[in-house]
């Protein structure tokens, strides 16, 4: 499944066969990382960029009071920290949520890719911008939607993002989150997350049990939370 990366970057359009080869080259050396471990932490100056091949990774910040906030989720095919190649210092940490397979790519390699492979450079650029678009949507969600729609929105987003990499079957998929993780993503307390989960269950909008998400009626769920997928910038399948 090393082609996860290629499948993803192809969405940016216009990669050649040669580019594919280069990317395969780059993602040869993968490595297993256990769950709940930091890949890089704040104020590090790490030397490698990470790419997720399997598992879930999150980007988070710890506030002074010790409160953790998760600002992004990385699923297979996503880069964790392209920043590292450009900015000097991390302003947040990145940790695995599950046991993961990741590829480590050195800054040097990224610089080489961007300097000598214009199509790949473009695709990487594209990937960052999509990440930013997602971040923006999360911001809007937090600012303007009530808790239960926020959660519904998150599960809609994951449905689409995971299906791109083949991790959705029959509108259901597996996530590693505890309710505490959800709280840290949605800016809620665990207690309230629980209330919301109950509520969505009772409305039969989402069935969440033991790390497994089942969506009985996709369309209804999307309507419920005004989910508009344009921000994910998915491309039409073919092409």
């Amino acid at each position: 499944m090393f082609d996860t990366l290629i499948r993803k970057l192809s969405q940016a359009g216009g990669l050649t066969e040669a580019d594919h080869k280069t990317l395969r080259q780059v993602s040869l050396r993968s490595r297993q990382v256990p769950a709940r471990r930091d890949l890089t932490s704040e104020e590090d100056r790490p030397e490698n960029v990470h790419l997720v091949l399997s598992g879930f990774v999150c980007r988070y910040k710890i506030l002074p009071k010790g409160q953790r906030h998760i600002t992004a989720l990385m699923v297979p095919g996503d880069f964790c920290d392209l920043h590292v190649a450009i900015l000097d210092e991390m302003d947040h940490s990145i940790g695995t949520m599950t046991s993961c397979t990741v590829v480590e790519i050195s800054r040097a390699t990224i610089h080489d890719l961007t300097a000598n492979h214009p199509r790949i450079a473009h695709a990487l650029w594209w990937a960052t911008l999509v990440d930013e678009a997602v971040l923006r949507e999360w911001l809007v969600c937090l600012a303007g939607r009530e808790a239960s729609k926020r959660m519904a929105h998150l599960f809609c987003e994951l449905l689409l993002r995971l299906s791109v990499v083949g991790l959705v079957k029959d509108d259901s998929y597996t996530v590693p989150f505890t309710q505490i993780d959800l709280a840290d993503m949605l800016g809620l307390t665990p207690v309230h997350v629980n209330r919301v989960v109950q509520h969505l269950r009772s409305e039969n909008l989402i069935v969440l049990r033991r790390h497994h998400v089942q969506i009985p009626d996709k369309a209804r769920l999307m309507t419920y939370c005004d989910f508009i997928p344009n921000y994910l910038h998915r491309r039409p399948r073919v092409k």
Copy 2:
């Protein structure tokens, strides 16, 4: 003051004299835009990227219920929408808050810059990543801080960002926001924004009157809202 751009991009490090020349070339044709006008709107496929030379611009989304949320603020020296050069479709709008001077740069020019001027490409890359870092901080703020700290944090951020482009004098600066704008940025109601403004005033943390912000004690304000400026990725002045 066309050098605003150069001053800003220089922070990414390593621009040569030739790069400066190229940038000056690019930002020659500027244009005046009145206040409260969209530069690009959602679902457009605009042909130009905008760079702010003077004035305030914001990036915003309108939720289905008509509620506006501002996800970013662009001040002189900032790009509004580098996305446009890469992504196909806007997922949000960009509008002026004041009358502004902007430079329009075509997609083609951006592509040329990134293909043929590696240091500039790097600097543009850098600028986007800083924007993303700011967005992330806004997210954390919304999720984890109470209203008054959120507002304090915003004014701390502006203090630093505006001082980079020489718009701060004696810890005070001018912003064009109404309390309604603030509400749209902070995810609050205008009524509550007013309460918070009163409160910060009464604590002598921020004096906000008629679009003018005065910060009596910078250090105290930063402590108050746990402001940690690392996310702005400012570089040491010289170099």
